[in-house]
Symmetry: C2
Subunit: 133 residues, 2 copies
């Protein structure tokens, strides 16, 4: 398989696939013409990576997950631990974003948004929360 077909079947852009080879996540063979020659196992790995990335795992987490996937003697606790840590990080990120949303939505609602210059959003940014001068 050439990279184009792998890209289509894995859903990953060719650039990303080359990058994944660069950093050692996949090791496709090479044809005589210098083209990358992907096996089904390479495609499978790339699809694995695509799904792991879609769940927000970092590249290094993906590398670990992939090696655990290929390790017959893995312990599921290792996998679960990585996933739990990532889940915690996601929840933390959500909490941060929700705090921003909270503040921002209040500010947006309190701004009349017309042609006049007074704006509680700018006032808040200028002097900090709770001050409306």
């Amino acid at each position: 398989m050439n990279i184009g077909e792998v890209a289509e079947r894995s859903g990953l852009p060719p650039k990303t696939i080359r990058y994944y080879e660069d950093i050692g996540l996949v090791r496709p063979l090479r044809s005589d013409n210098g083209y990358r020659a992907f096996r089904e196992t390479d495609l499978h790995k790339l699809a694995f990576l695509g799904r792991a990335r879609a769940l927000g795992f970092s590249i290094e987490d993906c590398r670990l997950l992939l090696s655990l996937y290929e390790d017959e003697s893995r312990e599921s606790a290792q996998v679960k631990s990585i996933a739990e840590e990532h889940l915690t990080a996601i929840e933390k990120k959500i909490a941060q974003l929700e705090a921003m949303r909270e503040t921002l939505s209040h500010l947006v609602m309190s701004c009349h948004g017309d042609n006049r210059p007074d704006c509680p959003i700018l006032s808040d940014l200028a002097t900090g929360p709770g001050d409306r001068n």
Copy 2:
């Protein structure tokens, strides 16, 4: 004021302040010894930037917001529009993260996490959702 005092009073690291000067967000004067000489207005701008960044606005949004803040003839609708767009982006990001959290938490709960190798997390990554082989 030297950069250290401004850093302390604005809450921004010196590195960040230098970077903000680099990209033209602040323009402190220079003392004879080559040190940056910040005025109160510079400090005020930096604090403004710090609060805007804490609300997740991009640097370019911050640049716009700052120029609106300094523009006496602004219309609050311009500010509100930037804030609304950013709020929408935040909500979109939250939705993405919540989808990840949903999937991940199910996977984590379904993994026994012991010394055995079978792991529904890896199975899901290997074959896609809904397949447990």
